[in-house]
């Protein structure tokens, strides 16, 4: 765990106790069973916003606290522990970053205060196929009207404003704001294995306002989203590991708790090792963003790839080590397994980020 400031420690402790009391995994299960159209519990999201979490990276003049990305990561990590679904990542981190970094004063004034208080939800619409490929964009803006199809938009069902990647009149890639209530916006709910609120979104001549910064802005916003998602994955992976470790200490076979078998002990030690390494990369990526460090892109790719591998391993081991009970829907193991794969695929999987890391290093 990074060395935290007093404010950060308080924020983390507050998140930890709220998650334990108000949003255990049973809350996620209830949300899933209800078939909630938004993919999250709106009442819980209101509570989170009331505690100021949606304003953590937003400047004070727009209603936020400007605590930074490492602070936001601490909250996402705690939420990840119990798989708490909310628009915190898509709206308060990703869409808010796009506005903070590339918005005009008018755009910031219109959206950031509402995002900070949780009354508006933003979403990032960048991909157009089954794989994350931010360079492959067919969506176009002509005369201020955006047309194109975006896939796997996180919180796409809830979004009041979309941050959309598209080619402008000059053919250059950039980000645009499109209002959720524009007549040219059509959403299709995606029912994915992880039960979150993803959607395919079609834009037909929707009114689009440009953000400033072009492709650089897109990369910066994506890196912030990736690092935040990695923090959420860290929390989920740690909880999956701890739940499994608890089980190893109580499940008896052959007259022993199965955690006394060395074959399982060494696999547990391997998971712990990978979690410690992954934590270092996630915290380094978030700290690099806060410091506006030039090695941010490579540290973010390192974090997303390492965290993806680690969550992948731990979620598989969670099912295997629980045995038959881990295969049942009544147990939480399946939730972590499904969430792991969805989170891996979002904003670039391990293969994507390994390749990106090497390209940044020049090989």
């Amino acid at each position: 765990m990074a060395v935290l400031s007093e404010e950060q420690s308080m924020l983390r402790d507050a998140a930890k106790s709220w998650v334990q009391e108000k949003s255990p995994v049973t809350a996620f299960r209830k949300m899933r069973d209800s078939g909630a159209e938004l993919g999250y519990d709106a009442a819980a999201w209101n509570e989170m916003a009331e505690m100021g979490w949606a304003g953590v990276i937003i400047p004070e003049e727009y209603g936020g606290s400007n605590f930074g990305y490492l602070s936001m990561g601490l909250i996402l990590e705690e939420l990840g522990r119990t798989l708490t679904a909310s628009p915190l990542l898509a709206s308060a981190l990703a869409a808010a970053s796009a506005l903070v970094l590339g918005g005009t004063d008018a755009q910031k004034s219109e959206w950031l205060p509402k995002i900070a208080e949780g009354t508006a939800v933003g979403a990032l619409a960048v991909d157009e196929g089954a794989h994350h490929a931010p360079d492959r964009v067919a969506a176009e803006v002509k005369g201020g009207k955006l047309s194109g199809k975006k896939t796997f938009v996180l919180e796409g069902m809830a979004a009041n404003v979309f941050v959309v990647s598209a080619k402008g009149d000059d053919g250059a890639l950039g980000l645009y704001l499109v209002r959720g209530d524009d007549a040219g916006v059509t959403r299709t709910r995606l029912h994915l294995a992880d039960s979150r609120g993803a959607a395919n979104v079609e834009f037909k001549d929707a009114a689009a306002e440009p953000l400033t910064g072009g492709k650089d802005l897109l990369e910066k916003v994506l890196d912030r989203a990736r690092a935040g998602l990695a923090a959420e994955m860290l929390g989920s992976a740690i909880q999956a590991f701890e739940t499994t470790l608890d089980y190893l200490k109580v499940r008896v076979q052959f007259g022993q708790v199965i955690g006394s078998f060395q074959a399982l002990q060494h696999r547990a030690a391997k998971m712990f090792t990978d979690l410690e390494l992954a934590r270092s990369t996630v915290e380094a990526a978030l700290a690099a963003i806060d410091a506006d460090s030039p090695d941010t892109p490579e540290l973010v790719s390192l974090a997303k790839a390492k965290m993806g591998d680690t969550f992948h391993l731990v979620s598989n081991e969670m099912v295997q080590m629980h045995g038959g009970i881990g295969m049942t829907d009544a147990h939480d193991a399946g939730f972590y397994l499904k969430r792991a794969r969805a989170a891996e695929a979002a904003f670039g999987n391990q293969a994507f980020h390994r390749d990106r890391y090497a390209r940044i290093q020049g090989y």
């Binding site: 002990q265 547990a268 030690a269 090792t273 390494l277 992954a278 290093q361």
Partner: protein, 400 residues
Amino acid sequence: MADFGGTDLEAFRAEARAWIEANFPASLKGKPNPMMREERANPSADQEAWRKAMGDKGWGVPTWPAAYGGGGLSPAEGRIIQQELGRAGAYNPIGGMGVMMFGPTLLEYGTEDQKREHIPPIVKGDLQWCQGYSEPGAGSDLASLQTRAEDKGDHFLINGQKIWTSGAQFAQWCFCLVRTDTSKKHEGISFVLIDMDQPGVEVRPIQLINGTSPFCETFFTDARAEKKNLVGPLNGGWTIGKRLLQHERSGLSGGGGMFGMGKSLEQLAKEYIGVDEQGRVADADLRARVIQNDMDWRAFQQTAMRAMAESKGNSGPSAATSIMKNAATSTLQTRAELTIEIMGHQGLGWSGDEFNKEEKEAVRSWLGGKATTIYGGSQEIQSNIISKRILGLPDLTQSH
């Protein structure tokens, strides 16, 4: 980096810089430390002068107490010395097992008399220590060691065989785990200091698969250890011996120091394999594995930095330290495998002019590196430590 008392530290930096400039022989600038090389048996006059200067100053072990000849400096001042040595292209001539392992342990557990006798020669680099731990029948199960120390009134009589005694052929003294009670396992072990310069001690270097002989077999036949050289209580050596291993592991997981980290894998891959039209390493399968290793190493480095920040910060001892040895050694072994794979047949050159220095070092480094997951607590022992001590998983009970 914010250090408190910045002005004082800056003054100290100026002092350190001036002293190094005045004392470090220009002929040694940028040269490797002779400590771990064959030439240490025959040091040059400048190498000797530099060792003596640093030894007298106590700056080879800057944070050890001045009462025993150490630098008596704060950790922050110690880091400044390290930085200024690096800046001047100077190596620290004071090192070895006395500095890394035995000294810190004796400072913690030794009597005042023992510290006054044994610490100053380590500080000055006047003599070297070796480690008498493993035996042919006691490797990972170290506590099963059988070397006997018999009570003869004013001294112990030592009989038995040690193995993997690193640097025993260069050492004047040995810190040794011996059996003083055969009726108990862990509680029958004592920690004694043995003078290697006596008739009952025989040392035979062992040649390893990479051609070097960093380890020895050491035979004790009616060797003597004075009673005053028992460290800690009789039959209380296991605790001290384990503490010393922690110093050893923290030294071993430094990582980079274990191998010459010369060229990066991607540089080597570009040279030996070539690149495609996009500038990527032309062999896609190899490239993917190089990337994985590169990123594993970066994650390890980030963890080393985090552990250091945490140890100085407010969050208590870092759990991250327990994973360091396995993480570092497995990544570096893979790196060595990739290096010879990239070099192809050239990476298997053992000797002769058909192979360059880098290639010949690659093959020996690959082979020598296999030891890193065996010594200092094998990879499996490290996994046992993590699973039992950190994760709290229980021991196996006898099956029925």
